[in-house]
Symmetry: C2
Subunit: 237 residues, 2 copies
DNA sequence: CAATGTGAAATGCTTCACAGCG
DNA sequence: CGCTGTGAAGCATTTCACATTG
């Protein structure tokens, strides 16, 4: 897993009214179900069985049913799930009804690509501001939006109601940026820099490290080549 | 978790000679330990305690010790771990001694950024070829390397000894690309397209979906705002 | 009667707590 | 004496298997 959660601050138990406290593993899969459901809806399906949705989302059906059961009982026995209703419910739980404003910090290679990535907007996120520490880049237009200097962060985060920050800076700048984001009021961070961030309780951090993903695959390559070098039984192919 | 493993083909038990079969969770953390160790080495440290390394890697020390114990006994009681030796061991286990050749498919926004990302090369990966299905893009130079057409994949994968493919295409092209990569002999895939890939047993897939990461954070934002709207106890801040 | 929702079993992972070693 | 390595306990997640229901 290449993610990192802030030390979870203990999710005030019991769950508030109407707020089921889902297992983290379930939360991480809901977006995948949601995507699969949108595909099914586009393909004209009105209902789908746990088996069908599970296949579309790449999990097994028992897991899917257990995940969905945490949201409540939205299936019909003998039939399956109503696609539209389930989309509605999952979006509700994920808090996707209100569009969330995102600040993107670090407009280098990756930052440019992220700023232009259409997948964010199409899934309910609005990149509301771009920041960089380099004054030479300030003012540059990326995807129609001007890059601003880090020193504006506090004001812009407040003005735009930004709650999520994306860090795409080099590793040595990331902690300072995280501190600035938190000071400005951001409470969730997606970190692409290859380093560990320290943040206060109550701030959530997820990490995506491209090189780590490759290293994990490297391990499996290494394992496979070691195993096939032996007379061990190879499954499949 | 935003990753997806191919249905694990059963990791021939017992582990071959000299090949410890590590828990997946441990494998996923080793690259993080490795990065922390390199930082420590650069900072001039010869040894490090489990406590120190755990802090640098953002985990707790018991977990770190258990993870490392799977590799064998490379620590010294009363002292800690030899930084250089441990780097050596982890790189060994991850199969990072041989530089691995990577094919990158889909030279759009994200593909450009990945092609230029220095973090791959610096951590033992060599982007050996770039591919795109769009003939208008074929021949374009990205980071000094010419983009080739998908139809060359089989030949190039064989020539360059490529074992890992990175898919940065739109979702609707990804499955075809995956099939082509697998047919060409690639046995590990890192998928940035927002879709589930079907691959044969023996092929490993990891998935990175940027929008899913944001949706997970959105859930936590939603939860936090729901909770703070109540008189519930908020930890920390 | 097909397919959900769910107790209960099985597995895997994390954390504790300390014996044992350098 | 400090720190590693590790059984054992504690949690979380997955899977099984079936009673239940529309």
């Amino acid at each position: 897993m290449s993610q990192q959660r802030a030390q979870s601050s203990g999710v005030a138990s019991g769950g508030g009214p109407g707020f089921p406290d889902l297992p983290e593993a379930t939360v991480a899969r809901l977006p995948e179900y949601l995507r699969a459901l949108h595909n099914l809806a586009d393909a004209g399906h009105d209902t789908v069985s746990s088996e069908g949705l599970a296949t579309a989302a790449g999990v097994n059906s028992a897991k899917l049913r257990k995940d969905l059961s945490h949201l409540g009982s939205y299936g019909t026995r003998g039939v399956g799930y109503d696609v539209t209703l389930l989309i509605e419910q999952i979006e509700q739980v994920l808090g996707l009804h209100e569009t969330r404003a995102v600040a993107l910090v670090g407009i280098g290679n990756l930052g440019h690509a992220l700023a232009r990535y259409a997948g964010f907007a199409s899934r309910g996120f609005h990149i509301a501001a771009l920041f960089d520490a380099d004054r030479d880049r300030v003012g540059e237009l990326v995807n129609g939006m001007a890059v601003r200097h880090m020193s504006d962060i506090a004001a812009v985060v407040a003005d735009e109601g930004i709650s999520i920050g994306v860090i795409a800076t080099p590793a040595d700048a990331a902690q300072v940026v995280a501190d600035d984001l938190v000071a400005a009021g951001v409470t969730s961070i997606l970190n692409f820099a290859p380093c560990v961030l320290a943040v206060p309780d109550g701030v959530d951090v997820r990490k995506v490290d491209l090189a780590i993903e490759l290293q994990i695959l490297s391990f499996h390559e290494h394992r496979k080549s070691t195993l096939t070098a032996l007379p061990a039984k190879v499954v499949g192919q």
